[in-house]
Amino acid sequence: MDNAVTAKKKWWTGGHSPFNVSYGKLMMWYFLISDAFTFGALLISYGTQRFMAEGWPDPNVVFHSFPFMGHANLPLVFVSLMTFILIMSSVTMVLAVNAGHYMDKKAVVKWLSLTIVGGIMFLGCQAWEWTHLHEVGAWWGRNPFPNADGTAAISTNFVDFFFTITGFHGLHVTSGVVLNIIVLINVLKGTYEHRGHYEMVEKVGLYWHFVDLVWVFVFTCFYLL
């Protein structure tokens, strides 16, 4: 009997590693499932409130600013840039994981560093957006935006959900950046080269892609719909 399931098999037929992944990666997947339900619950409660509400602000009116562009009306442009940055950092992360498969330390350092830069740029964009919205009077419990149909807002649900959900996502990006920095330090120290594999890069990679995945849904729910 072989110890691990070979990639050719479609279903487990016995052996030691039914999922053909290491314990650590499997546990990361289980954590991500639970985190998916947390984000899902937040987004679904947002949807429920929106379906209950008689009126709701128009995202193209709320999110229309771009740094250094003054009062120019640019709906969706800034958040598209943020989305691009996050997708790009996902690509550099998967390139770092790929380089790790080939024990290419130099390439892992390069791509992981770029991923960290992308994460910090995304957080910078979010900080600007929050600051801007705060300046125009939006915060938890303070909704300056009229409804899309022109009537005055009668609840603060929109801003409450926006700041809570993008804030929770930003917290995930922040912890992802911290984890990436820790792993980068270990790569530079040669810890994984010594260990014989770069699986730790894969594990933080899974987390990082999940953060990107959540953003895809946040982008749709808050900015497009």
Binding site: K10, R50, M88, V91, V94, H197, L224
Partner: protein
């Protein structure tokens, strides 16, 4: 893991990563393009537009999970272990959105019905309830 892969294998895997990147980028650009089209011409209608947005979001989610997170290349046991619990979301979404909608109609149809915790007072001063 360190297999005995050669340089051409590596080239091929890097190529497929960039392919996924272009798919994600183009889908996002289509979404933003449609949003602008709707903004300036009113076409496509809001219901069709939102259906397209949700469909494209699921396309992007599929590519991130299957390619970037590599789930598409794992064995089926793992794929199903992860996907089955997430199927609960289908009912989760339908049930809660229907509930929200039914609340709205209940409030409209019977003014004497109990109000939810959120205060639905006549609009004055932008909804500051503290």
């Amino acid at each position: 893991m360190a297999h005995t892969q050669n340089a051409s294998d590596r080239q091929a895997s890097i190529k497929s990563i960039w392919k996924t990147f272009w798919i994600l980028l183009i889908v996002t650009m289509v979404e933003v393009g449609l949003a602008f089209l709707h903004l300036y011409s009113g076409f496509p209608g809001k219901l069709l537009l939102n259906s397209i947005f949700i469909g494209l979001t699921i396309v992007k989610a599929f590519y991130i999970v299957a390619e970037f997170m590599h789930l598409g290349h794992e064995i089926k046991n793992l794929i199903w272990t992860i996907m089955m619990p997430l199927l609960l979301f289908i009912w989760f979404i339908i049930a809660f959105l229907a509930d929200g909608d039914s609340w709205k109609h209940m409030r409209r149809n019977s003014p004497s019905a109990p109000l939810p915790a959120e205060k639905v007072a006549p609009a004055h001063g932008g909804g500051n309830h503290h």
